[in-house]
């Protein structure tokens, strides 16, 4: 889930105020991907009237502030052989979820770990942990380790395997910069 990924610092809703129209134009120009040419910064900047160094400086600033997490390859799990991608969901005692969430997050193989709201009665699970393996057996043994860690604080859990990618485009902004916020 590339779009949901971010460092774990507290959220700063006002950071976006630091972006100007050119930053937003750069975001729009690169959200489908960075050009695969020797000077990608220059290629991105040219239609905007920016030189490569200016583009790079702006990207660096956005990366430093956390607007850009990193400029990176997003893999298709299945194509890499990670055919078992389990969203494990756990019904964890609210009194212990903060401590346990942090402990779960430290386990190798865990890519994302979030607390989310329950929707009772249909959905009692409040801790979401993504696990990736080359087989369901691998994911199940990772899940077993989580179950032991969570112990009595966890009443129930499920593993929801993804069986098809229906869409994976990442974040899209509108073409035109919006009004200043």
């Amino acid at each position: 889930m590339s779009v949901s990924t971010c460092p774990s610092e507290p959220m700063a809703a006002t950071v976006s105020d630091g972006l100007d129209d050119l930053d937003r134009a750069l975001i729009v120009a690169t959200q489908a991907g960075l050009p695969l040419v020797p000077d990608p910064w220059g290629a991105v900047g040219k239609p905007l009237g920016l030189d490569g160094n200016e583009v790079r400086a702006r990207m660096q600033r956005m990366q430093d502030s956390g607007v850009i997490r990193r400029v990176a390859a997003v893999p298709n799990h299945y194509r890499l052989g990670y055919v078992a991608n389990g969203m494990t969901v756990w019904n964890v005692d609210d009194a212990h979820i903060q401590r346990l969430g942090r402990e779960v997050a430290a386990i190798t193989g865990v890519s994302h770990c979030y607390r989310r709201p329950r929707h009772l009665p249909e959905w009692p699970y409040n801790l979401f942990v993504m696990l990736h393996g080359r087989s369901q057996a691998e994911v199940e043994s990772q899940a077993e380790a989580l179950r032991e860690l969570l112990g009595d604080a966890c009443r129930d859990h499920r593993i929801l395997y993804s069986s098809r990618i229906l869409k994976k485009t990442g974040l899209r902004l509108a073409r035109r910069p919006g009004p200043p916020r």
Partner: protein
Amino acid sequence: MSLARTQRSEPAELDSADRRIINRLQDGLPLVESPYAAVAAEISLSEGELLYRLERLLEDGVLSRFGPMYHAERLGGGLTLAALEVPEADFERVTAAVNAFPEVAHNYRREHRLNMWFVLATETPERIDEVIAAIEAATGLTVFNMPKQEEFHVRLHLPV
């Protein structure tokens, strides 16, 4: 990005150079003057070969994208995970209806009563509720909205 490409799911055949590229570039491109040349040198490839292979990995759907990974909330936007219980007979229609929303950043089928799980990324936090209402209208189904309340960890890295 074509749907056909994103929907390919059989494991790809990768050689050692492909693996080095995938492992290295999941960690991020350095923001230097000739970034591909810099990375190519690290993993013993020429810049031309890296660019050629990277393009091929994207075309083959081994990588779903290459570029800046933006943080929706820091852009002032909204982000949530949502789920639907879709009747099997209606699955394709609902997939098309949900995917048609540009705010749907990704969408997975999962094996559960709630069998469709998608991430919404919107330009403003207020838009989330509007898009959810529009998806409910377009599909005739109830959306289970599950925004994150706390984040304990995020770092996807799949070594190959």
